[in-house]
């Protein structure tokens, strides 16, 4: 395992703070800033703690970083950011970006993002990433200077544009299908989970009403009073327990969400490959047609129907000098084209090789993470049931004493 940044440095996003400032259009806005703290791991001997460096970043800067990484390393499945806006909410959760719970979960998500990048064998070595962690001022300018925005292919933004690739790489096609399926199934799951959470919340909370009524009723009862009163107390405990339970479940939902967004990143890699392949095929096609033109001019035979051919037939042949010149130009172009094609092919093969390596890495990570997430979900459910057993055992005792 290569030495990645995560092993050398502790990275945390430890705080979130509300700020107001003026944005690009000179309008006052409120936003949240996050404190990134880093500390070198190595020099922690004899109880000496390395100094903590820290700086503040806002969400839009994280976005800029990620865009840069996506464009600069197109063959890498770049870790996703936590969602921009609260999605898959159930009724108790707020959809407000300023809501403290949302901010807290976003803080955790951002920390997770940084850790993922820092543990990636390739990405962690990027200078811009390092500067993001260490250099507060002038970072934005540094990123823009790399000119990565020029490299970004605007064609990729057209999500549904299909490039008719004649010889698609079967593995990439399958992978794209898989990423689509994964996206669809996880978002469906999250939607239903939110509804289930809502309903469960209802069941638990209505039991709280029992608590109130039992207590009021116990006031008029002599023999039943004590039993009712204490049973009521347990109903209150039961009703209150759902809050913690569902909060824990939110973490599980967030873990799934990360892979929902990861699926998007995976898809992006497939698209980039598609685009590359398309460009390659276009270049090859172009080269072939130029070669053909050259041949026709040289031999004087018209193999394919062309307007030029017709006009020259109608308006007379060109002079041999003109033809020579044309052939010369074409031959140059063909030379260029062949070199380009060669390099494109090479590029393509490199891309496939490194992309596939990263994809394998990603697959393993995904399987491991998801399995752990599922296990922790099951553990959560068991704990919920244990709590339920405890409450109702107590309640049963109270009832039997009525």
């Amino acid at each position: 395992m290569e030495d990645c940044l995560a092993k050398k440095m502790e990275i945390t996003v430890s705080e979130a703070e509300k700020r107001t400032g003026r944005n690009a259009m000179n309008i006052q806005e409120t936003y949240t800033a996050y404190l990134i703290e880093t500390r070198a791991v190595e020099s922690q001997s004899e109880g000496h703690c390395a100094p903590v460096e820290s700086l503040w970043r806002r969400y839009s800067e994280f976005e800029l970083l990620r865009n840069y990484l996506s464009v600069t390393y197109p063959h890498i499945v770049v870790p996703p950011l936590p969602e921009k806006r609260a999605d898959f909410v159930w009724h108790k959760l707020s959809a407000d970006n300023m809501d403290p719970d949302f901010v807290e979960r976003r803080r955790i998500g951002l920390e997770n993002f940084l850790l993922r990048v820092a543990s990636h064998p390739v990405l962690c070595q990027d200078k811009i990433f390092y500067a993001f962690l260490m250099q507060e001022g002038g970072w934005k300018e540094m990123v823009n200077e790399t000119g990565f925005q020029l490299k970004a292919d605007s064609r990729l933004k057209a999500l549904n544009a299909t490039f008719r690739v004649k010889n698609p790489d079967k593995r990439f096609t399958e992978l794209k299908h898989y990423s689509d399926e994964l996206q669809s199934v996880i978002s469906h799951l999250l939607r239903v989970r939110a509804r289930v959470a809502d309903r469960l919340y209802g069941v638990y909370k209505v039991h709280g009403n029992y608590g109130r009524v039992f207590s009021e009723w116990s006031a008029i009862e002599k023999e039943m009073g004590d039993g009712l009163q204490s049973a009521g107390h347990h109903m209150d405990v039961y009703a209150a327990s759902i809050d913690d339970i569902l909060e824990e479940e939110e973490h599980y939902a967030d873990q799934l969400k990360e892979y929902l967004f990861y699926a998007e990143a995976l898809r992006a890699v497939c698209r980039k490959h598609e685009l590359m392949q398309y460009d390659l095929e276009m270049a090859a096609q172009d080269l072939t047609s130029k070669k053909q033109q050259c041949e026709e001019l040289a031999t004087g035979t018209v193999r394919t129907f062309s307007l030029k051919g017709m006009t020259s037939k109608l308006f007379g042949q060109e002079t041999p000098e003109q033809r020579e010149a044309k052939i010369k130009v074409l031959e140059e172009q063909i030379q260029e084209g062949e070199e380009q094609l060669k390099s494109k092919n090479l590029e393509g093969r490199d891309f496939v090789k490194s992309a596939w390596a990263d994809i394998e890495r990603f697959k393993e990570q995904k399987n491991h993470d998801l399995k752990e997430a599922l296990i922790s979900y099951a553990v959560m459910q068991i704990s919920m049931c244990k709590k339920g057993i405890q409450v109702w055992t107590n309640a049963k005792e109270c009832f039997s004493k009525m």
């Binding site: 009524v213 023999e223 057993i389 109702w392 309640a395």
Partner: protein, 367 residues
């Protein structure tokens, strides 16, 4: 559990769940002293030119001497039960007559003859008759005996006897008139306490009824969502290799949770909901009983007042007054005894039902 086997040996053909048997056959006297066993079952639909109605089979088994036979089987319709109840109320105005299921159910989409409605009603009618059988006084009521034993035509002719509609209306008018005369002055402290208690109890039991229904509804909604939740995991497992099995396992667990929820819901609807509903009705009945006692007392008081004003006809009045005082005293005693009995029963019911709910929940969570 000896009581269970005893009961089983008497009514082998009737398919009642053991737990509901326990629910019925609880009372101060041990089950060994019981000598009257009643079941209500087998609803049947009858269609005539004018109407459609349901009859229920009422089977009685008894060792009592005053019954000519030891086993009876008759068919009764809801109207007959209403008749019985009103006769009992007439004969014992200050005793607590058990509630009958309502004529209609206003809320909910339950149709008059839906299976659910009929079954709920059948269970309630069964409870009604058994509560009467358990009651130390009511169980010996003549009309009750006729209800259990007479053939259909015998019952109709018996119904036609007795005070006619007009006289019954007269009673009601007098009763209303006397209640209009304002709060009873000499109401014993005990009954005022009872009144206050009933007001609060009635409020609380109504709330509990609503809460229980609400919980049932929430659980049903939860169950429905869970039914969709499980299959998604199975769908997902189809596109995964390494985690496919875990996902399928999770889907299986979710389905089992769903079924456990359904069982919990069934427990609620079988025990808690009917019990709470019965006591909602009971609270109305009790308020009525307390009012009737007040009326009787009112009669006495007004006569006493009249006596104080009219010095003549003393003897005549004092006899009447004497009779009324007796009546009031009897009524009061009857009510008090019955009240204590009722409260004990109620306690027992609440205790056992809620314990049952708790047990169901435990079972649910353990699953």
């Amino acid at each position: 559990d000896t009581s269970l086997t005893e009961v089983n040996s008497f009514s082998p053909s009737v398919p009642i769940s053991p737990s509901s048997m326990i629910n019925q056959y609880k009372f101060e006297d041990g089950p060994e002293l019981r000598d009257l066993f009643i079941t209500v079952d087998d609803p049947e639909s009858h269609i005539t030119a004018i109407e459609t109605f349901i009859t229920y089979r009422v089977v009685t088994k008894t060792t009592r001497g005053e019954f000519d036979s030891s086993e009876y089987e008759v068919r009764r319709r809801y109207q007959d039960f209403l008749w019985l109840k009103s006769k009992l109320e007439e004969a014992h105005p200050t005793l607590i007559i058990p509630p009958l299921p309502e004529k209609f159910i206003m809320k909910g989409m339950v149709e008059r003859f839906s299976d659910e409605f009929i079954e709920t009603r059948r269970k309630a009618l069964h409870k009604f008759l058994n509560r009467i059988a358990d009651h130390p006084t009511l169980t010996f009521n003549e009309d009750f005996k006729i209800f259990l034993t007479a053939q259909a035509w015998e019952l109709s002719s018996h119904k036609k006897q007795g005070p006619g509609l007009l006289s019954r209306m007269g009673q009601t008018v007098r009763a209303v008139a006397s209640s209009v005369r304002g709060a009873v002055k000499n109401r014993p402290e005990m009954f005022t306490e009872m009144n206050n208690y009933m007001e609060t109890f009635s409020q609380k039991i109504n709330l509990l009824d609503k809460i229980a229904h609400r919980i049932y509804k929430e659980e049903r909604d939860y169950c429905n969502e869970m039914k969709e939740y499980g299959p998604i995991h199975t769908l997902w497992s189809a596109s995964e290799e390494a985690i496919g099995d875990s996902l399928k396992g999770l889907a299986g667990c979710i389905d089992r949770c769903c079924r456990a929820t359904e069982r919990r819901m069934a427990g609620l609807s079988e025990h808690l909901l009917p019990m709470l509903h019965e006591y909602v009705l009971y609270s109305e009945i009790l308020m009525g009983v307390l009012k009737r006692r007040d009326q009787i007392q009112g009669e006495l008081d007004s006569k006493v007042d009249a006596l104080a004003n009219k010095k003549t006809e003393k003897d005549l009045f004092s006899e009447e007054i004497g009779k009324l005082e007796d009546k009031v005293e009897r009524a009061n005693n009857a009510l008090k005894a019955d009240w204590d009995r009722w409260k004990q029963n109620m306690q027992w019911d609440m205790r056992s039902t809620f314990t049952n709910v708790a047990e169901n929940n435990l079972r649910y969570y353990e699953e």
